[in-house]
Symmetry: D2
Subunit: 244 residues, 4 copies
């Protein structure tokens, strides 16, 4: 088990992160990062109980030192182990408000968790992914989770949109630099409401109107399986009924 | 065998079209449209010999009557049969030339094969796809093949770019209209040289520098398998080494 | 008067085209192309009465021969005269309809007037614009009028969107080829309802909610005055109150 | 003189900022913000000597307190005065480097100066611009300076691209929120090398291959003069010879 490569997932709650963890745990040892252990503990237990291997680490992606400490712990738990996949999936910084009512902190939180967080995460995972080349069943893959706000700055959404636009820029830049080095960097635009416990209150007139976390995880896995001849950079995912 | 739904593929040569045909023939009866029978005959034979079901029909997608006749023949061969998938993949109209040296015909050919061709194809396949709802293993899917020129009008490429931009507009419009009706409409941006007999002469300094037709076909199949909660509209595919 | 360079404007009705004609007539002899003389006659009279120089020519931009004949007539009226500006502004092909109710002709009309029309117009104006280099007060300029549909293929809008996407591809390609030759090629995205007689019926809850044709003309003129160090390719114009 | 409205410009060096200051000083009292007084002193002197009114304030846009102090000083110098225009133009954070050699600080500096800086600047200028409604000759205008990196995340450019993408998101969001309130928010994509003292070393084979700061300033002024019926949000500016 210890010899399996890693899948490192930042931003793991009861929704998309958990589904991604489950999917990648079929092939990799998974490392789950979240600020709150409550977020990763159930899925860590579930994976280990099911014959997979998972650990959780409390970390704040927007804090350089916290990310550094998390990766030191990964190295301690899995010394010298390469990564096959890394997924940046934190949802931090979402806020909708008239611009002049925003606090400096609300804007900073979004930027720090999405843009700086993405940077810290990439900085620590890319060396492990580069090490994974030739050792993993598919080209090592780094996936960033985007949102509608990655490509549209709507009124009253500036903090989250600024963070998500910045994250997309980072993803593009890394894809162009590390693709030729054999690491597949992708960006997924999640355009709609995800069907997770937190969104139970959103009721739509049509069935199946929310994105399925398991289907998102399948799409991420699919991206991961692509050969280097045929890498996708960007994929937009939305429910069939979504307006866009 | 006759009761299987159809996969209808326009633009079938020895490359992507053939790979798509092979992939979809694992589940569907395939209908291959091409102007020249030489393009579809080998793959039709191969599929039928392998236990699948395939027919080829000579058709010019840029000619409304030719497309109409082709679909009349489909109805004759597979009366009342629904479609599970349709793929628009013709490469017609590519030309690179100083603008003032272009003939009217060169511009028209690109527009007619990519834009009008896409329209005629969609008009005839959508009723069959709508009929496929609930009868096919995955939501009925209509995929359009785009290119680098779908999103960038480079110098000396105006005919093909105009055609491919127009095709992308058509794809977007159909995705927004037919997604809510349960038909998955997608657009794939093929950004690079495809590894087919015709491109043998393009030699790159790196291995694996051309897109694999089989990997493109896998991506199309993946799009087809997505549930309606989580449809992708657009996917860009390129070799790891491609500049973009 | 005969020695002034030309501004050639295709698509002249009582709205934007007339305002553009008026604006450019302050510096150039203007040639107005429209299918219907009723469209250009009032503005031709107005310009000539006001001391400017204008002629109108009946032409269908979607018909290669009609465009050819129009430019033969321009050469006859203004032999050897260069062009300082050319504006492609026809509105042809707009239709909103469920896709499966569209006729082949409705789709073709939009494609032919927007995409092929743009091609024919560019083919005939670019030689005159190239001749204008160094002779006109500002770099010779070719402007294409786009719309919301130039960048978004909305449901039930496929003909117009396909035409406008194609026209944008043409504009990009020409800007990249002819910019380095000193011709300024631009594309304006008109995103909203224009305040013209035909849109009197559209009433909005806010004042000034429609685009002003004169302000659009000012923007086109501004584009024309830019020096070659600092060309704009694309400009999106919309009322302050417009949702986008 | 004291009764003229303000034009507040952040990021003033010997290039674009100075040209913008000169252009807007023909109508407004100008306030120039820069970290280093050396950057604004010459242009402040020049404007005051020429009969205009200008002051310079040392401020670091990436520091919330520094921006706050600067606007307190503006209020002290021009009590109760509205703003007709505000331009965010700092160049901070540009760095090109292999990703794994970037320091945390290099990424943060770009994000903090472009994204957070834009936020702080908008927060302090928007109330003054809203106050300017009806008092200024043109609709109050907030312009953000973007770059090639605003729309493309190139390899080795992630810090600046992340910052500029984020700034564009902010600009879009503000345009959508404050346009309907009568404030014109725009974003200019400067795509090329600007002809300033710092770029003297860049020599091109063609004349006029660099953007003119005065022409950029003219474009900004043109945006400012647009009536609310016809606001442009985005404008891309590049030399005629630029590859894009």
């Amino acid at each position: 088990m210890a010899s399996k490569a890693l899948a490192i997932i930042a931003g793991v709650g009861p929704g998309t992160g958990a589904s991604i963890a489950r999917r990648f745990a079929q092939t990799y040892s998974v490392v789950l990062l979240s600020r709150n252990p409550d977020n990763y503990e159930p899925i860590v237990k579930e994976i280990n109980a099911g014959g997979g291997k998972a650990i959780g680490i409390s970390a704040d992606v927007s804090d350089a030192n916290s990310v550094k400490a998390a990766f030191a712990q990964i190295e301690k738990e899995f010394p010298g182990t390469a990564a096959g996949a890394a997924v940046f999936n934190p949802s931090g910084g979402f806020v909708k408000k008239p611009f002049l009512e925003l606090t400096d902190e609300q804007f900073s939180t979004a930027i720090d968790s999405q843009a700086k967080g993405g940077f810290y995460f990439a900085k620590h995972t890319l060396p492990l992914l580069l090490k994974g080349k030739g050792q993993t069943p598919h080209p090592p893959t780094l996936i960033f989770t985007g949102a509608t706000a990655s490509v549209k700055g709507s009124a009253q959404f500036s903090p989250f949109a600024a963070g998500k636009f910045a994250l997309r820029a980072l993803a593009q830049s890394l894809a162009r630099e590390f693709g030729p080095q054999g690491v597949h960097v992708s960006h997924a635009i999640i355009d709609g409401v995800i069907d997770i416990p937190r969104t139970k209150g959103y009721v739509f007139p049509h069935e199946d109107a929310k994105l399925s976390p398991d289907a998102i995880a399948d799409s991420y896995w699919y991206l991961h399986t692509q050969p280097r001849t045929t890498f996708a950079f960007e994929l937009d995912l939305r429910p069939y009924i979504e307006k866009w």
